[in-house]
Structure formats: C-alpha cells, structure tokens
C-alpha cells in the first residue's frame, strides 16, 4: 500500500521518492487552485523555475511541487495559507 498526502482534504497516494507534482498529476489534479495568485496554479516547467506549481504545506510554507519529494501525511493546499491563525481572521 502506497503512502499518501492530502491535497486540501483529498488523499493522494504516491510512490516513495516521487515529487508532489508527479503524484498530483497522476491523481488527475492539474488545477492547483487560484489561491493567492491571480491565475490558477499548475505544474509547468518541472525544474523549479516558473513557480506556477507552488503549493502550501500546512504548518511549513510554500514549496515548488515539482522539486519537493512527497512525504506521508503532509497537508497541501493552494497558496497562500496563513495557517490556523488566519482561518478566523475577519477580512471581507
């Protein structure tokens, strides 16, 4: 049984040694959400240059999905994620 991480709330399984990008694409997740960007994220250049595949690792920060090895249990979401403090921030 392969390990898995979570994209928002959805479990995504991956093979050890694989990047987050590879696992997301295999799970059919191509649209990485608009998040804080203006345009939806997506895996594009594969070499860490274009920054289009940046995802937020909850509790850690943002990383390029194409460079970062997947780890079991990591919780990913479209950036930005300000963490638990900001879930209840009262912005309009």
């Amino acid at each position: 049984m392969n390990p898995c991480f979570y994209w928002i709330d959805r479990p995504v399984s991956f093979r050890p040694g694989e990047t987050i990008a590879a696992a997301l694409l295999r799970a059919g997740i191509a649209d990485l959400g608009a998040g804080g960007g203006i345009v939806p994220g997506r895996v594009f250049c594969g070499i860490g240059a274009c920054q289009a595949c940046v995802v937020a690792v909850l509790g850690e920060g943002a990383v390029e999905a194409c460079l970062t090895p997947a780890r079991p249990g990591m919780r990913l979401a479209p950036p930005p994620s300000l963490g638990p403090h900001h879930e209840r921030a009262g912005h309009e």
């Binding site: 998040g35 850690e60 943002a62 950036p79 300000l82 403090h85 900001h86």
Partner: protein, 385 residues
Amino acid sequence: MARSASLHVAVIGAGIVGAAAAHFLAAAGARVTLLDASGPAAGATGASDGAVSVASKKPGPMMDLARHARAFYGACEADGLLGGLFHRRSTFLVARTPLEADLVAEHGADLAAAGERVLDVDRPTLLSRIPGLGDGVCFALEIPDDGHALGYEITQRLLQGSGVTVRRNASVSEIVMRAGQAVGVAVRGDVLAADAVLVAAGMGSVGLLGLGDILIPRKGQMVVTDRAAAGRPAIDGHLMAASYLAAKRGIVRDNAHIGLVIDPLVTGQFLIGGSREEHRCDHTTDAVTISAILRDALDLYPPLRERRVLRTFAGVRTASRDGLPIIGPHPHLGGVTIATGFEGDGICLGPFMGAYAARMILGEAPGVDLSMLAPQRFSRVEALA
C-alpha cells in the same frame, strides 16, 4: 495665471516630490520639463514602503506637517487626482518590553497632543485585528487615521496626462546662471532654457548645489514576500515596532539597528523593513542585515514563517543634517528652489510638498508656514549679513 502662462520651469528629479511639483505647476498653466538621470520613481520613491503615516513622525514640525500631508492625500483621493491609490488604514504601534511600552505611550501622548486620534488596544482586541501576533507584544496603540500609497503609482498618476514633458536619462550636469539668476539647466552639453529651476533630486542634489555637508545618505534594506492574501492587505493595519519609533525619534543611531515595520501591501504581499545605514548610498543588500530584519519580524508576527521572500532591495533616503526636510528658495541662487531631505518620509509628504513648492515658484501664498524648512537655516551667517 498671467505669470504662470509664460513661465518655463525645469524640475530636476522625477521622484514623488518632483513629479508632484511638476504636476501642480503644469496644472497652474506653467510649461514644465521634468528631468531625471534615470526615469520616474527610479530612486527612493520606487524603493520604499508606502506609509502615509503620521504615527511614525517625530513630535514637532514633522508631526504637524505629516498631518497636513496626509489630509492632502485624502483631498486628492476625493477629487479624483489620486483616486484609488490612497488607502486608509490603521497603524499599530507595538511594544515588546516595558521600556518600549513607555516609549510607545510617550509617543502616543505626543500624537494626541498634536491632535491625532490615538486608541488604546487591549490584547484580545489586538489579536482579533492581527491574528497570530507575537506573544511578546505587551502594549499597543492604534492610530486609526493613517494611510497607504505606493510611491511609484502616485508618481505615475501625477504625470499621466499632466502635460509635463518628462525627459528620461537626462542627467543635469549644471544649473546655468546669469547675473545671479538661473536661466536654464545643462543636459549632456545642451542648455535647456528655464525661468525657474526646482531641484528635487535627493542625493543627486549634492552635485548640483554643493550640499555635501548638509545631505546625508541613509540606506534602508527591505524585503518583499509572496502573497499572504489575494488582492487585499493580509492584515488589518501597518505594524510599527517601538524600535522604529526609537530610530525616528533619534534615540538610537546605529547602523546595525533595525527599525521594524511590517507593511501589508494591497497586493496581499508584505513589505518588511528596515535598516538605517548612515553614509551608505549603494543599493546592495546583505544576508546578515536581511536575516536580522526577518528574525525581528518573525518575533513580532510569527505567521510570517509560512511566507517566502521574493525580493530584497535597498533604497537610499536623503536625510538632512538636522533631520528636517529642506524646501524653499536657494539662499544665493536666484530662481532656484530646493525640495529634498525628506529622508524616509517622502511618500507621505511628497504630494503636499510638491504642491507647496509649486505655489512658491508661482509666487503664490503658500497656505502654511514652512519657513523653518527653508534652506536658509544652513547659511545663517550669510542670511544675517
């Protein structure tokens, strides 16, 4: 109008002050050429936070001036000139030690005495406004009437459709004088005739006017992060640490001192500053200073740990020897007006001071008495003679 219609003014320096002066001169009917060694907002205007803040000012004339200048932003926003570019927001003055709390309280009292609204904020209120704020914050005041504007956006708006002729890459080598009166400026061997000259060139003013012992460069290193929110400020106010007030009030003068501000930009990014490095006029940034700024910022506002740094950059503030801006007629050179030395307050004061300089050049009543800022003060001996 009769005077301005025939007037040609050369404005040197296309930062926010020069652009504002050029705009208001042109609006009054003068012909204006705005010259810059590089281009609009190429200097400190384009490398600064956007605080239009009374909260940060030293008590005395600067605090009063900032209140006028901020009100002027409000008026220009209302009449459409700066529509959409000036945003009201609170400044939070925050202390992390009892000593800092005393300083913030004292500064709050000075602000209140100058007529500024100052609100006490207890910790629960503060946390509801700035969720995640550091545990170390033991005292805070809210200054609710401050604002924000981006220097380069203001500069662009002031020049857009103003009728001002903008000359980029036009480094002025000399102000051409005849019989004690300015008659033009020399640009790459050519002379551009002018009836009046305004020098608003920051440190570039030194070479033109010989102000080498009066103007001091003060470098500030800053950081811009990625977005923490989409298209709106990520937190509900500008965080200004007591360390920043200490620097502004002249209590600390040390090139390694960090006067911390965390400025939530309307893009959702954070601008975090900064150092105050006297006599440094290069634009480099270094990892020791930047990491010190970031450690302090993380202590004040820990949610920054999830951000990424996109850019580091440095701006060079032009400070005057006595810490006050220099604005007024040159004491010896007829037809030459100076507007510089705004240090870190150019974005806040710029439009107002530009309008003031324009009125002065047009020979109109200035409306407020800023004689204490006149260049005359640095040549008192000559003035008395």
